[in-house]
Amino acid sequence: MQPRIQVQTTDFELSEEYQRLRDNPACGAVVTFTGLVRELVQGNLTGMTLEHYPGMTESALTDICQQAAQRWELGSITVIHRVGSLGLNDQIVFVGVAAAHRQAAFMAAEFIMDYLKTRAPFWKQEHTTAGSYWVDAKTKDQLAAARWHTSEAEG
């Protein structure tokens, strides 16, 4: 299975990605995740800039998808990540997984997001009315990714 990987400045259409994923008579389940630019709790976000490491980004995402395809029986995978300038409520990232069964589709989509958050070379800079700040990595994301190492050891 060849994952569809896109790193782009332009927006994407969920409906087009979904049509591509559901076009497989053996798949009974499609799970999609979309990440959006959300308001900060303080409410003073004006937008963000996403930097990445061209070349490494694509290979890191491909590697993550291949790991997912080894762990679960999947029909197809799509990962789209935007870079450059984004505004409030803009789409940042899309992960879509089609599979015969829903458990595999859910698990794979979560796994891809957890690994993407900790292993794919993207960096967010938030622009607020008080200045621009690089976003700090979250311990929560490290812990989310670490769950999958444990089940690897157990499996």
Partner: protein
């Protein structure tokens, strides 16, 4: 030569996105870090952070990763995409 790339906050604070370093005498990532740290106290400080990540030829790599002339080595802060 080794190509060194820096990203995000590290690129901004060191005011440098990319540079080349003579590969002579550098056999591992840890040795490249020492050579870069010798450039200035700022480089020393920025590269000594525990959370600085490294990639060799676009794959995440540890400090003991062997290097050879022609390699592309990147240093960057923890990733925050998604």
């Amino acid at each position: 030569m080794l190509t060194v790339k820096l990203f995000a906050a590290l690129r901004e604070r060191l005011e440098c996105a990319s540079l080349t370093v003579d590969a002579t005498g550098i056999s591992r990532v840890s040795e490249l870090k020492q050579v870069l740290a010798a450039r200035s106290p700022k480089w020393q400080r920025e590269l000594s952070h525990n959370d600085v990540l490294c990639a060799v030829n676009q794959q995440l790599a540890a400090s003991d990763m062997p290097l050879q002339a022609g390699d592309e080595v990147a240093f960057f802060p923890p990733v925050t995409g998604g």
